[in-house]
Amino acid sequence: MSTYTLSRGVRPSIKQTHKPGENPWSVSRMAALLVLAVLAVTWLVPFGWAVLTSLKSEADAGASQITLNPPDGFSFEAYRKVLSAGDIPSWAWNSLITSVAITLITVATSALAGYAFSRVNFKGKRLLYAAIIAAIIIPPQLLIVPLFRQMLAFNLVDTYWGIILPQAFAPAMVLILKRFFDQIPVELEDAARVDGAGRLRVFWSVVLPLSRPILAAVAIFVFIGAWNNFLWPFIVTTDADLMTLPVGLQTVKSAYGLQYAQNMASAILAALPLVVVFLFFQRQIVKGIATTGFGGQ
């Protein structure tokens, strides 16, 4: 992961906003702190309650009395059962494979296309550009029927490629990268071109190294979207061995029925990878979301 700052305008995140003359322990600041704490706890409750339930025995989890001190105590029994059933690890693997492929293909194709739009004057450029802008407002949800029939025709239903390909391009990311490339001074590339480097070489050795932070931002955004996407993988997979985590869990949700501890344990296990990644790369992820969310500006 790069440690570049994405935008010079964004100040470091640890910032003291109280002025030197201001009392940091004033009543109004304490009131704000209290409100913030109540809201944050409220936000963490569904999470915490799921964790707590997952650590109980099935008998305690299914008891109607709300208690933090269950008679059977806490254990990882539900996790052991869920993991030994074996579905979750294989769904996680499917999610990983498809999300990584989607991210790599999207970043590569968007960067190449964004560069073409930014630097090359080619015939048909304006038409393609207009098509991309128009495409941004087309919700992929509306294409599920024709896309599914197309996948049937291509024999891609119940395959990794069937999950990957319709998600492996992002018009909005092309625009974001184009805007970023527009800001790179052309002189940097001209110097390399005088030395006889071709377009691809210039792109690879001059432009891409300068774009690492924005590429990381795009990659983070695309990966989170792909990892969590539900509707398309849900439509294109029927084979339980090929399901991604969100789709597989949906089938289990009903299968477990009243086994609440195992139900919550599988939800926590599914949530864990991205949460752990977030804890490690919090700053990059926050900046990545902010940058791509603003359309790269």
Binding site: T109, F122, P139, L142, L143, S266, K287
Partner: protein, 311 residues
């Protein structure tokens, strides 16, 4: 390749003209070479299905292919007369109205609070943003458990205060509110982060100048902060309305559109017409009607935002 290149040029003008033409062709070739990988995927998996869907919407296509063939506008006419279509469209608009306002206002409030510079900043940010990283399925599993009528935490706490249990997902009057609460919890982190980033971009000097003029904190909030955030607010409202109109996952899994169709969204209706009713033509027609609505909303927002930035 054109044959003009092969014939030897007579004059210097011709040489430069040919050189320019060749450079231009080279540019076009290079441009398409760079754009091709994207353009192929874009064409195959967006342009083709969009056009194919438009064609389907004029056919009577079903799973078996029975009744296929062009049927003119009859799918569209059927859709406009279909009370279930209107009901799911109404639900979608109601959900959009109920979710957009708190998702923008509350995220602003959270960002303002976190930006005060109180201790524990990373913890606040983590709490509000974490749910955004969860898959819809996980969110629904958490909240189905919270909303469970007999064993759920919410009714359990209500019982401790002597309140009657609420059928969060089964009561037609409450189900949509429950869906909105879950959505708020899940997606507010994105808006919150964008507001937080925008807040940090407001130049410090503006506050100093305002403070010198004797403007208090609240005064600064309304005279500096909120106006400075206007572009972010406009962007978020746009993104939020478009996202809410497309709602599917959490409703489908929380209530399956129930009770009695009171939470069924338009995307779920499109999905059901296509994949459980197997009426591909009909489903595509509803998709296109809904797309027309999205285009209208986008255009309206574009006009509004542009007028505001001119003023």
């Amino acid at each position: 390749m054109s044959t003009a290149i092969d014939t030897p040029p007579a004059t210097t003008e011709e040489v430069t003209a040919q050189g320019k033409a060749r450079a231009k062709r080279g540019e076009t070739l290079a441009g398409w070479a760079f754009a091709a990988p994207f353009a192929v995927l874009f064409g195959l998996f967006l342009v083709v299905p969009a056009l194919y869907g438009l064609y389907l919407s004029f056919t009577g296509e079903t799973l078996t292919g029975a009744g296929s063939g062009l049927v003119g506008f009859s799918n569209y006419a059927d859709a406009l007369r279909d009370p279930d279509m209107w009901k799911s469209l109404g639900n979608t608009l109601w959900f959009t109205a109920l979710s957009t306002i708190p998702l923008v206002v509350l995220s602003l409030a959270l960002a303002l609070l976190v930006n005060l510079g109180l201790p524990g900043r990373w913890l606040w940010r983590l709490s509000f943003f974490l749910p955004y990283l969860l898959a819809s399925t996980v969110v629904v599993m958490f909240w189905s458990w919270m909303y469970n009528p007999t064993l759920g935490l919410i009714n359990g706490v209500l019982a401790k205060f002597g309140a009657a249990p609420v059928a969060w997902l089964q009561d037609p009057k409450v189900a949509m509110i429950s869906v909105v609460i879950t959505t708020l919890w899940w997606t507010i982190g994105f808006n919150f982060l964008l507001y937080l980033a925008a807040l940090q971009n407001i130049p410090e000097q503006q506050f100093e100048a305002a403070a010198l003029d004797g403007a208090g904190k609240w005064r600064q909030l309304f005279s500096i902060v909120i106006p400075q955030l206007a572009p972010t607010t406009a962007l978020l409202v746009t993104l939020q309305i478009l996202a809410s109109l497309k709602v599917f996952d959490q409703i489908y899994m929380l209530t399956n559109g129930g009770p009695a169709g009171t939470t069924r969204s338009i995307v779920q209706y499109i999905y059901e017409s296509g994949f459980t009713g197997y009426r591909f033509g009909y489903s595509s027609a509803i998709s296109y009607l809904f797309f027309a609505l999205i285009v209208l909303v986008s255009l309206a927002q574009y006009k509004l935002i542009n007028r505001r930035s001119v003023a």
